[in-house]
């Protein structure tokens, strides 16, 4: 009879562990859904400390280039400068076998020298779908208890959920980097056609973003403004070099040629369907607020806000930069010119934001020497 009772108690305890794990899985599902790697990692260590009742937790990332594990984030008594090369078997065994390992008395193992100041230790690999991200380490349970297999399952539940999210975030960052890299390459190709425009793109981008922030643009929209600004003159790739570099006033037909660049730019980028707002911003960045002299006949709010911002930023930089056919204007003079055109060429609300920015900054760009 007593045997049955013991069995039942053991079963209940086992079920209880399983229930704990189940509740954790419910809780962490979606918890790591973030595109910030730091965010995911910090939630991981918090969750590990909470669920397992350990004093220390650390996330280690594998550096693909050097093949060394470094500390990404930690809580408790963990030295963040610690790195683990391949001979640090205690951690690497986990990475290689993709299985967790636990040491209840690490001082009694050959691994004691790798992680000084720790009594008990458990390591779990952090695995994405295609790559090994690194490992999560927890150490020293409260009350100096041993690690049980239920603890291993809990830590695995955390690391496998988080692994996928970290991998997603990494891919996202990589794609974003690739996109910006491609955009900057295009800009370089453009600037190679005319030394007069060198630096123009970067400055316009900076001005436009400053105005955008003052207009309370955020996140995604600000990012689109940045990309639009970087690419706004891309259509000039199709403008004959002689016109771009001409050092006297342009003729009527040359002006017509130059004015094609917003439309051409939009055409060049037309394949990138995800870029619709960027394309429209580029297409309409020479439209005039009141519609008079608009290249495409748009006026007022018909012109996308991003284009209205870009228009002011672009004009201000053009005025304050030397051109082959005229010297640059003084900063104050350029500001007056923008003000004068508020309500006709430019959206007054954008001009107000521009003035607020320009009056609060001492920034004075020098046009690069030819």
């Amino acid at each position: 009879m007593n045997n049955y009772k013991d069995d039942l108690t053991a079963t209940v305890q086992e079920l209880s562990h399983a229930y704990e794990e189940l509740s954790l899985l419910y809780r962490v599902a979606g918890m790591f859904a973030s595109l910030s790697i730091d965010d995911i990692c910090s939630r991981m260590v918090d969750e590990a400390i909470d669920t397992l009742g350990v004093k220390t937790a650390a996330v280690l990332f594998l550096d693909d280039k050097t093949g060394v594990l470094y500390s990404k984030i930690s809580r408790g008594s963990w030295d963040n400068t610690r790195t683990f090369s391949r001979d640090a078997e205690v951690i690497w065994k986990t990475i290689q076998t993709r299985k967790p390992s636990a040491f209840c008395r690490i001082a009694e193992t050959p691994y004691r020298d790798y992680i000084p100041g720790v009594r008990s230790l458990m390591v779990c690999p952090i695995q994405g779908k295609v790559k090994t991200i690194g490992a999560i380490v927890v150490a020293d349970k409260e009350g100096d208890q041993e690690f049980f297999s239920s603890d291993t399952k809990l830590l695995m539940a955390i690391s496998s959920q988080a692994g996928l999210s970290v991998e997603n975030a990494m891919l996202h960052a990589e794609l974003e980097g690739l996109l910006l890299g491609a955009i900057r390459s295009l800009v370089k190709a453009l600037e190679a056609t005319s030394h007069w425009t060198a630096g123009h793109t970067e400055r316009v981008t900076e001005y436009a973003l400053a105005i955008g922030r003052l207009l309370n643009l955020q996140g995604d929209l600000l990012e689109k403004l940045k990309i639009s600004s970087l690419l706004h003159d891309i259509g000039k790739i199709a403008t004959p070099r002689e016109i771009l570099n001409k050092n006297c006033a342009l003729s009527e037909s040359e002006l017509i040629e130059i004015k094609k660049h917003p439309g051409v730019g939009a055409e060049i980028l037309g394949e990138m369907v995800q870029f619709n707002e960027v394309i429209l911003c580029i297409k309409y960045h020479h439209e005039h607020w009141d519609g008079k002299n608009s290249l495409f006949g748009l006026k007022y709010e018909e012109i996308p806000l991003l284009a209205r911002i870009l228009s002011v930023a672009d004009t201000f930089d053009a005025l304050t930069s030397d051109r082959p056919y005229r010297p640059r204007r003084e900063r104050e003079e350029a500001i007056q010119e923008i003000k004068r055109c508020s309500g006709s060429q430019f959206d007054p609300a954008v001009v107000d934001a521009f003035l607020a920015w320009v009056n609060s900054t001492t920034l004075q760009y020098q046009a690069p020497l030819p």
């Binding site: 108690t9 209940v12 079920l15 209880s16 704990e20 954790l24 669920t51």
Partner: protein
């Protein structure tokens, strides 16, 4: 010693909660049939009541209403266990005087912590 009454029609949940709370020296009374619960509560006078929401016969929320309607019992705090996703129940439950709403599957460890917060931790 604090006393907790747990009412749930699932025997495993009862055993698991009992096992967990006993590790913290909390006296646990388990009730499987909700229609007998009110009587047990009157007799046992627990410091805390844990009710399952979904029970055949008398639901946790009905039981909760009856407890709160009894002047002798209404001050006993109540925890309500419910299945995941019953968002609107939370509002209803709290209106019935439930002090905590705990979603199944819950962590036995954090349930114990919540119980200790409410009835006091006698191990300390």
């Amino acid at each position: 010693m604090s006393k907790v009454i747990v009412v749930d029609d699932e025997p495993f949940i009862l055993m698991m909660i009992e096992d967990k709370l006993k590790t913290a020296k909390i006296d646990v009374v388990t009730v499987r049939e909700s229609r007998h619960a009110l009587e047990r509560i009157r007799n046992e006078r627990p410091d805390l009541i844990i009710l399952d929401w979904m029970m055949p016969g008398l639901s946790g929320i009905d039981l909760c209403r009856r407890i709160k309607a009894d002047p002798d019992l209404r001050d006993i705090p109540i925890f309500m266990l419910t299945a995941k996703g019953q968002d609107t129940d939370e509002e209803q439950g709290l209106q019935c005087g439930v002090s905590r709403y705990i979603t199944k599957p819950f962590s036995p460890k954090s349930l114990l912590e919540m119980v200790q917060e409410t009835v006091g931790n006698e191990q300390l």
